[in-house]
Symmetry: C2
Subunit: 453 residues, 2 copies
């Protein structure tokens, strides 16, 4: 595996994209400039139908992906592959209407912002690029991470004539409409991760919530907590602290990657603190994870475009029901769909469609539906990733393959490789993926040969 | 094969359907009442996961289909199948907005009228019905004719988690974006049909067009033609007569079914006329086909809902490029996409999207794209059907199967059977289709058994 290409090897292009692919009202014909980047360096060319690796952007600007996703450029050379990164509509520079502000104004402008439209965007860009390069018979492998991984697998399912195969990394495509019980999802894996790292750490966190509540309910309790946790602003409610800790544990678990393994770091802090005071231990965990700062909790922070965009997406077509079970280290919480719909409606004026994802993409009894239908998707997961709870963890068929690692975290397999610190199991996971993709492409070339006769 | 069930065995239902599945603007959430009809008589029930036969309506009211489509009710008993007929949006009683007049007002109301939306409608209705009947594991076989046949095959491709298989009768899914040269399409088969029926008939028709033009260009020529053809109104232009004849020949070829074989009837008239006058012969063909009438050509006629609906559909997502080649019995005509777009735009204010069908559904190099992807579709055709030119006439794989008959016509295999007059090859075509569907269902039950363990 070679090192990633520098970002400067990518050229930027814009495609005049249709605002609404599935409607023919006059306003549907409006267009916006969708950004995509191409690296031609390693491409074997259309004469030999050399492959195209297409990264399908998820909920952020495509520049971010370019700097952290290593899988394409690390493997482009051995595949002689063209690399293309395509930005998701409403993110980065690919925002319809005149500005992000206008695009996010209300449901009338946000309405066009959903995954079915994004998939159609990707289809149009890829067809356009293949045509421009006279590469109609170049096999396209789509690659995506997290939500982008869902898009990659769905793209193979909906546009098999455009993409030959998909590498869907950490794609929780089974995390809709109670395919899995919401309480067996995300938080159950976070809990497992901490418990496996340290039973005492897990116990400390488990009992901390009620201690925080107990102190917060006392006079001066919030000031005490604010001081204890060196908050950036005095706490108004205990939930501010609890949400901060919740997010910190989740982030540590989701990105629990080598060489540092953040969960181990947090638990190292918690278990290593002197004394017996639970909240002192918890704070030590915070410091161990985030490093020495002037303050913690309630740091001033602006909403990022990912925050804003994902908030809409999970309130429109991507309703992911996340609950917390009784065995968790977090306070139990039952996902309430009615409440959820109500709050989305209050925020955007329109309700989400919680059944749409399974209607359009399926997900229930996925093995039964796809075993004899569809082919060429890798569902890769790290089992320490909380989102792996909604992933595909068993092979569906010979060509719909689950590749997972016990110790892996969110999207780890397609992030930039590190030849020094990457453990053997991670190197191996990537090797397996490359081998599978090679098999698909070899079979495709044989089909192409036969087809041309 | 038993006789078709009476229409009275069907119960009528309405589903509260979403206006726009792929958008979340406030107006997308509007709903309309979509009609569907169910026959429960033969259904084996959800306990045994008995199959569901779903007829996907095409460009007309679903009542019409109910009276002419025999395949479902003729086979429901042996499959213990539930029968459901679902009406296509904007046809029959399934019209959004307050009335057909309002729905067809302009592109703002017509915009929601396209095949991707219709497929999503069918998915929602089928999921709803399966849920209501606790029949989640009942295999659904979708069946469609002509445009509805395209919908059936596309439904299996886009919603494999809803339908186990599809019988797509006379579905010209390769009739888009010059996958076939436009001049090798529809009219080339009509010509072949007439030529095979009678070489002299073909020759007579071939030379008739220039004779009509020659006469029409003379003073009193149009009155002469009006008298000759007993027109209902005097001709204003020779094109009125030529369009009438064009339509007559096409209809005869498309529905060239036993026992009468209309092409043979027309040619019988043409060849059997006494004397040597071309137009006398042509008129004899008209009379032979349409019977004795008080007048022919220019009969007063209102636009049907199919005329109105299909006109929009072919000017939005379903641009079918039909041309006429030089070897044809018709005057040559080159399909001009620019002209076509211009005339659609003039009529509706918005242009069609001629590349959308292949972008969303594919069609180019279909064998290469689908051989190892997808399963369980029967593409049935009669080779005398002009639309078979855009159909799938070769097996793509073991489960994507072309079943065609040399002498068959448009949708003949799924129309009401006639145990007295149906020829052996037609009876056999239907038997093959039933056998294939039985195989799919048997395999599915085996998968289901394994899946439940």
């Amino acid at each position: 595996m070679s090192a990633a290409d520098p970002i400067s090897d990518f050229e930027t292009f814009y495609y005049n994209q249709t605002l609404d692919h599935f409607n023919f009202r006059p306003d549907s014909f409006n267009t916006f400039q969708q950004r995509y980047l191409i690296n031609f360096k390693h491409w074997g060319g259309s004469n030999v139908s050399a492959p195209i690796f297409a990264y399908l952007g998820e909920e952020e600007a495509i520049d971010v992906d370019l700097s952290i996703i290593g899988f394409l450029s690390e493997n482009a050379h051995q595949f002689q592959a063209l690399q293309i990164f395509i930005e998701h509509r409403y993110y980065g520079k690919s925002v319809p209407f005149r500005s992000r502000e206008e695009a996010f104004q209300n449901a009338s402008t946000l309405g066009y912002f959903n995954s079915a439209q994004a998939l159609a965007d990707y289809a149009e860009v890829l067809i356009h690029v293949k045509k421009k390069l006279h590469a109609q018979h170049s096999p396209v492998i789509v690659i995506g991470a997290s939500y982008g991984g869902m898009l990659a697998s769905w793209f193979r399912l909906k546009y098999p004539h455009v993409a030959l195969g998909a590498l869907a990394s950490s794609a929780p495509i089974r995390y809709f409409e109670n395919i899995i019980p919401p309480e067996d999802g995300y938080y159950s894996i976070v809990t497992k991760d901490f418990r496996e790292a340290s039973e005492t750490c897990y116990q400390t966190i488990k009992k901390s919530w009620s201690e925080i509540d107990a102190i917060a309910s006392q006079p001066q309790g919030l000031s005490f907590l604010s001081e204890k946790f060196h908050t950036c602003r005095p706490l108004n409610k205990s939930s501010e602290l609890k949400n901060y800790l919740d997010t910190l544990y989740c982030e540590a678990a989701q990105y629990n990657s080598p060489p540092s393994y953040p969960v181990t770091v947090v638990c190292g802090g918690i278990d290593g603190a002197s004394g017996n005071d639970t909240l002192t231990k918890i704070f030590a965990g915070v410091v161990a994870y985030t490093g020495n700062r002037s303050c913690y909790v309630n740091q001033p922070r602006n909403l990022s475009e990912t925050d804003m965009g994902w908030s809409w997406q999970t309130c429109s077509d991507l309703v992911i029901p996340i609950g917390v079970g009784n065995d968790s280290m977090f306070p139990a919480y039952q996902f309430d769909l009615k409440d959820y719909i109500k709050s989305c409606k209050a925020q955007y004026g329109v309700p989400p469609r919680p059944h749409w994802a399974t209607t359009y993409f399926g997900g229930h009894d996925i093995k039964l539906a796809l075993e004899r239908f569809a082919s060429n998707i890798i569902f890769s997961n790290g089992l320490r990733d909380p989102y792996s709870s909604g992933g595909v963890l068993e092979d569906i068929s010979d060509t719909l393959i689950a590749v997972h690692t016990k110790n892996g975290s969110h999207c780890l397999d397609i992030l930039n490789a590190n030849s020094v610190t990457d453990p053997g199991w991670l190197v191996n996971q990537r090797k397996i993926e490359v081998k599978i993709i090679k098999r698909w492409i070899a079979k495709y070339y044989a089909d192409l040969q036969a087809f041309k006769k």
